[in-house]
Symmetry: none
Subunit: 245 residues, 4 copies
Amino acid sequence: MDELKAEANGTRRHPAGPKSQQRVRDILQAGRDVFAEKGYERATTAEIAQRVGVSEATVFSYFRGKRELCARVISEWYDEIIAAIEDGLPRDGSVRQQFAFIVRMHLRLMLIHGTGLCSLVLSEGRTKQHALGDELTALQRRYTAPLMRVLAHGQQTGQVRTDVPLRLMRSMVFGPMEHVLWEATLAHRSTDIEVTAERLVELLWAALQPPAPDVAALARLRDDMSEAMRRYEAAAQAKKSAIPI
Amino acid sequence: MDELKAEANGTRRHPAGPKSQQRVRDILQAGRDVFAEKGYERATTAEIAQRVGVSEATVFSYFRGKRELCARVISEWYDEIIAAIEDGLPRDGSVRQQFAFIVRMHLRLMLIHGTGLCSLVLSEGRTKQHALGDELTALQRRYTAPLMRVLAHGQQTGQVRTDVPLRLMRSMVFGPMEHVLWEATLAHRSTDIEVTAERLVELLWAALQPPAPDVAALARLRDDMSEAMRRYEAAAQAKKSAIPI
Amino acid sequence: MDELKAEANGTRRHPAGPKSQQRVRDILQAGRDVFAEKGYERATTAEIAQRVGVSEATVFSYFRGKRELCARVISEWYDEIIAAIEDGLPRDGSVRQQFAFIVRMHLRLMLIHGTGLCSLVLSEGRTKQHALGDELTALQRRYTAPLMRVLAHGQQTGQVRTDVPLRLMRSMVFGPMEHVLWEATLAHRSTDIEVTAERLVELLWAALQPPAPDVAALARLRDDMSEAMRRYEAAAQAKKSAIPI
Amino acid sequence: MDELKAEANGTRRHPAGPKSQQRVRDILQAGRDVFAEKGYERATTAEIAQRVGVSEATVFSYFRGKRELCARVISEWYDEIIAAIEDGLPRDGSVRQQFAFIVRMHLRLMLIHGTGLCSLVLSEGRTKQHALGDELTALQRRYTAPLMRVLAHGQQTGQVRTDVPLRLMRSMVFGPMEHVLWEATLAHRSTDIEVTAERLVELLWAALQPPAPDVAALARLRDDMSEAMRRYEAAAQAKKSAIPI
DNA sequence: CATGAATGAGACTTCATTCAT
DNA sequence: AATGAATGAAGTCTCATTCAT
C-alpha cells in the first residue's frame, strides 16, 4: 500500500503539502462512497468530483485515473479493516475467543460502509486485466492473515481440525460472512447483525473442531438407522392401506 | 421464465422458425460466454454479435436489448442448474446423501461455465434498479429451494440442528461454495473440485448437526444395534447351512 | 396520380390481379393511419406492415420504399378530397354558396382522418429534397383549383374584390382553415366544426367582398375620430386631476 | 423560459463563464439553422456540432440532449419575436395601426429566419408526447397575447366585431400569415413581403369589422365632421390673415 | 493549484431495405 | 406471391481523460 501511495501521490504533480493530503483524503472518501454505491463501472469520475466539490480535472491531478483511484479506495479500506482487527485482537484470549472476535469485527466493519465495498472487491477483484490484480491479492492475503494465524495456532493446540487444508477453512469462514452481508443489503430487513454473528461463530466453530471420530461415526450410524426405520415404516404403512385384505 | 421467453422471442421480429430458434440458442451461448467473462457492464453487444458471426442488428432483432439478453442468459443458466439438481436428487437417499449431492452438483455445475455466471448473478443481482431484480429473486428462490427442503426435512428428523434460522444455514452452505469457486477461478491452480466437495460436505455437515449429542446414549444405541446385528447374522448363518438349497 | 399508380404498381413485381389490388389498398390504408398518427419520420414500415398483417418485405414488394408509399398515401387522400369537392359543388348555386360549400367540405373532410394527414402534407410538403416536391405541388394546384375557379368567377361578376392577387386570397382562405384544424386537434375540446365553418365563411366572405370604398373610408374616418376623442378626453381628464387649481 | 435556461445551462457541466456563454449562443444559432432547415427528426446533433465547429460531445456538454436543445431554440426564438412585438407596438396608435403593426412585424420576423422555425413549431408542437408540449403552449399563449389584447380592445371600442369568438379571429389572423410564409418559402419567387403585408392587413381588417355598418349614419357623421372642419378651417384662415405677425 | 473546456472512442439502439427461399 | 432473416448505416448519448490558462 505504501508504494501505491507513493505512486499515486508522487508521480503526478502535488507535493505532499498538508492541504494536498486533505484533498487526497476527501477524494478517497467520495470515491469510496460512489464506488460502493454504484460499482466500478457505473461510478463516474464526474460524480466523485462533484461530491468533493472540485472539478474532474482536479481528481485527475491527484490520481492517475479512475482505476488507480479505485485501487486506492480499496487498499485504504483494507488498511482500515486490517488495522482494526489486528489492533483489537485479544492476544491473550483463547483460540475460540480470537476466532469469534474476527468474525464479529468482520461483519461489523463491513456493514459500516454497506456491502458495496465488499462486493466491489469481490466483483472487481475477479476481473483479470484489471491492473489491481496483484496488489489486491496481496491485500487479501494480509487481510486474511489474522484468521489464518488463529486457525494455525488452533491446529497446533489441537482445538482446530487438521484434516482439512487451511485454504478451505478460510473459504468456510469468509464465505458465509459475505453471503450474510449480501443478504443483509439485499433484504432491507435490518438483520440483527450481532445475533447473527454469534450464531455464525457457533456454527463455524462446530465445523472447525476436530472430529471426535467416535461421536461423528455414531451420529452417522444413528441417522442411517433412523432413516432405515422410517423408510420401513412408510413401506409397511403403504402395504397395509394398499392391501386391506 | 416462460414469460421471459415469450417476451424475448416473438415480440420483436422473428416467428419461431427452426433457424430462428438456432440463432437464439447461438446468441444466448455467446452472451453467456461474454457476460461471464466481462460482467454486465464490460460486455458489449458488439462482441456478442461478433462471436456469433452476425451483425449487431441481428442480435437486437432477437432480443429487445442488452439487458433482456442478459436476463435470458441468467434465467436459462438457472434453469439448467435447477433442473440438474432437481432431477438428480436421490429422493430415497438419506438426508446427508441428499445434502452431499447438492453441494457436489453445485460445485460441478458452476465450474462448467466458469465462475463468471455465478458472480454475474451475484454482482448484478445486488444492484438495485436493475430491472432484472424481480425475476432474479424468484430464480434464486427456486434455486435454493431443494437445499432448503432437505435441511427442513433434516430438522424434522432431528438430523439437522433447529437452533439456527434456515436462512443462516443457507448462507452457511452457499457462502463457502461461492468462495471456493472464486478461489478456483482466481488461482489458476486447478483445484481438485471433487476432493474439495467431499471435504466441504464434511465440514458443513459437522456445522449443521445438532449440538452436544449425547455420547453415552449413542454408544448404548450402537451397542444394542451391534448386538442385534450379530444375533441376526448368526441366525442367518444357521439357516443357510441348514438349507443348502 | 395515374402515373404514380403505374410507377408503383408496375415497376415492381405484381401484376394487377384483383388480389394484388386489395393488398395495395390495405397497405395504403394502414399507411395513411400510421403516417397521420406519427408523421413521416416517426412512422415505421414495420408498424404499417404489422397493421396490415403482412411482413415488411411484402410492403416493399408493392411499393418501392417508404417515401413512395407516403407519396401514394398523400395523393390518394388528395384524390378523395378533390373528388368530394368537385362532385358536390353546387354548380348552380351562387358564388357565395359555392364558396361556403368548399369551406365547409374542407373542414369536414380534413377532420374525418384527423389533422394528421393535413399536417403531414404541410410538414413534409415543405421539405425540399423530398422527391414528392413536384407531384405534391401539382396535387395542391388541383386541390385548390375549385376554390380558385369560384373566386375568379366571383371577380368576373363583381362579387369578389379584384384589388388583391388570387394567390393571396387563397392563403386568406386556406390559412385560417388549417389553423382552425390544428387547434381542433391540439385542444381536445371538441369544437363544433359546423358552427365554426359558418362563422368562418362569414368572416372570409366579408374579407373577399369588393371594398365599398365609401363605407370603408367612412368607417375608417369614424374610427380615427373616435380614437382622437378618446385620447383627448383622457388627456383632459389627466390634466384636471393633475392640476386641481 | 427562465427555468428552461437554468435547466439547460449549469445542470450539465459548464459554469457560466464568458466563453461558455458564447458557446451556448453558437450552438443555439447552429441548432436554430439546422432545425429550421431539416425539422426535428431529420436534424442531427452531428450536423449541429459540425456547423459550430466542435465535436458532438461538446454539444452534449452544454445541452442535455437533442430535445432540450430544440426546446431552447424554440423558446429563444419566441422570446425574440415576442420582445420585438411587445417593444415596438405603438401604444398610442389606433387599433388599426396596432393591428397592422403586429401583422407586419410577424411577417417580417418570421422571414428573417426562413419559415423553418415557424413550421418546426407547428409540426413539433402538434406532436403529443413530445415533452416540449407544455412549455410550447405557454410560449404560444404569450406570443399571441398582444394580438388578443388589441382585438379585445377593438371590440370594446366597437371597431372589431363581437359576434365571433376571439379564438376564431386569432386563427383568422395567424392562419393566412402562416400560409403566406409557406408560399414564400416554397416558391423561391421573392414575394414583396411588405406589399403583401399591407394587402393582408386590409383584407383582415375588412373581415374583423363589425358587420353591416349603418351607411346612412356614417354618411351623416361624415357630413357633420366635414362641416365642422370647414368651419374650423375658415376660422383659422381668417385668424391667420387677420394677424399676419 | 485548479479548472473550464473540449473531445475521441465507443456504447446501445433503430430502421429501411435486400434477397434467397 | 410472400416472407424469414439479416444487415449497413446512421443516430443519440456517455465518459474518462487531456491541456492551456
